[in-house]
């Protein structure tokens, strides 16, 4: 049983990271109906931005680690990635917005390849060791269940960000406009909602969340490299689809479910099957509920 709880704890921490990335996918998909393939690479850039910020600030040794500095690094990398997301949207996605969706998808893949290869060129292909902006400590939750304070931080920061996002979308004027654009873009435009600006904001928020995920992953798995975004990116997208793409609570549930099931497979079956379990769950769920767990089933009008 303690094995089960140990894997559960690991899975929740890892699943929170998937959930944070999945939020960006689901928000962009909700407004643009675009699978933003470059999102996983924005998460990679987030991790590297945090890496360089921490080094610039002189954090990195355990002696200089402090929660304030960590928060500064986190917010800084979120801001950098928000800017990156806005740039990507403006230069790559806006020109193809009127084209077919497959064209937009290929453009997104192009941006993804661009970020990966630019990352290899600028950061170098070899893994970098993420500085320990917070001193690691191991905490015993129960008999035989060990977690690190980093894992707890991952979960806490993710939950705070998710609550903030939910409040933002449900309670503010901009959030309301975002929901309106997601519901029906043309109608929203006719109601005087500045659709372009809302889409820009959506990209900024989604990319900032990905950067937060990048920072948190740097804390728990401190080896970052330019291709680290591919697999988590694709799995976070699967998590978003699993929860029902376009649905924000769906992305959170999907991410957690995915993280937990991966660690259960690692713990009980074999780590070589880890990359497949995400897709097995996805296919089973989609065959039963074709719109995902929380997705709306849209009836097609002729």
């Amino acid at each position: 049983m303690q094995e089960f709880f140990q894997q559960l704890a690991n899975g929740v921490a890892w699943g929170s990271i998937y959930a944070l990335i999945a939020l960006g996918y689901t928000m962009v998909y909700g407004t643009l109906r675009l699978i933003n393939f470059a999102h996983g690479d924005v998460y990679m850039v987030g991790a590297f931005a945090a890496y360089f910020l921490a080094r610039a600030l002189g954090v990195g040794t355990v002696a200089s680690a402090s929660p304030l500095m960590a928060a500064l690094v986190l917010l800084g990398s979120m801001a950098i990635c928000a800017g990156l997301g806005v740039l990507i949207e403006f230069f790559a996605y806006r020109p193809v917005r009127k084209s077919s969706r497959i064209t937009a998808l290929i453009t997104a893949i192009g941006v993804s390849l661009l970020l990966e290869n630019a990352g290899i060129l600028i950061f170098g292909p070899d893994p970098k060791f993420f500085p320990q902006v917070i001193a690691p400590r191991t905490i015993r939750l129960a008999e035989g269940v060990l977690v690190t304070n980093h894992q707890i931080m991952v979960v806490v920061v993710s939950v705070i960000l998710m609550i903030a996002l939910t409040l933002f979308i449900q309670r503010t004027r901009t959030g309301k406009a975002m929901r309106a654009v997601a519901f029906h873009r043309d109608a929203a435009s006719l109601m005087g909602i500045p659709v372009d600006r809302i889409i820009t904001i959506t990209f900024a928020i989604g990319s900032a969340l990905a950067a937060a995920a990048g920072f948190l992953v740097g804390l728990t798995n401190p080896k970052i490299e330019p291709l680290m975004g591919i697999m988590p990116g694709i799995k976070a997208f699967v998590a978003a689809v699993l929860g029902g793409i376009g649905s924000i609570p769906g992305a959170m549930i999907g991410g957690l479910l995915m993280g937990i099931s991966e660690y259960m497979v690692v713990g009980y079956i074999s780590s070589t099957y880890r990359d497949a379990i995400a897709f097995v769950i996805l296919i089973v769920v989609l065959l039963i509920r074709p719109a995902g767990l929380l997705g709306r089933n849209v009836t097609e009008k002729v």
């Binding site: 077919s100 192009g110 941006v111 390849l113 630019a118 689809v241 296919i283 989609l286 065959l287 097609e300």
Partner: protein, 329 residues
Amino acid sequence: MIAARRVLGTLAAIAIVWALDWAASRTLNPYIYRVVVLCSINVILALSLNLVNGITGQFSIGHAGFMAVGAYASAAYTVYAVPLMFGSGYAQNGWLTAAAFLLAILVGGLVSAVAGFLVGLPSMRLRGDYLAIVTLGFGEIIRVAILNIDAVGGARGFAGIPPRTNLAWVLAGAWLTFAVIRNLMRSYHGRALLAIREDEIAAEALGVPTTRYKVMAFVIGAFFAGVAGALFSHYTYLHTNSFTFMKSIEVVIMVVLGGMGSLTGSILGAVLLTALPELLRFASAERLIIYSLLLIVLMIARPQGILGRRELSFRRRRAESASRPTLAA
């Protein structure tokens, strides 16, 4: 008369293929020869994916999975079954070797087609992005499953496959794929596939069994992907890393870049995308950046792909363009 012309055309094509191989193996340096072979394998992949994505209007991004099935099935057949069927000394005899390889290619294609049927049947309930992500998922599941089969090498890669593929085989494969898909497109069944692409609901209302046709397109696409895989596995080192979803996406890019629904477009896209990274080798560090930038710029400048839905033809463009639906995309 027409039949005679077709037979002559086929014979001429076979003669051209062998002549090209004979000439190429003597004149081209090994590096260029290799690029041409890989180009042709990619042409087969792009054409077969175009049948699913361009002609039938579905969206599959798991093509590498079927290629992997074909590659491993045919390789396992060659390594384990062929010595039993033909005797261990069969490699001394050129005709026997060729026959064994032809059988291996067919085994690869057929096993892959069966996989395509098993994947396609449940997937075809889904549409659009959901279908895309499920095909991607199946592709990854296939890859991870193969990775865990020890008899085909698992994570070490599958060693000991005799090299059998040469330019003649891949050119013949590409030509056959092209011919089959082009003739299919012009047939009664091909019209049904095009009808599904243009409007699935209208096609269904007119009595086209849409699910059956979608699965059919998927199975044929998987068959040729398996053929491409078989040619690949008998040419170069075989490891599941060659079949990640990046490979699937590469094939999707070939199809979209050439023009969805255009067969000659797929050929063009496959050749361009295989040759481009090689041509950019002078800028070794930046070449993949240039490649991805070109991709973005091309999509912005020409969203319908290089050829759109048109076909390149040596002959005058005849009734073909008129007989195809001309609904603007």
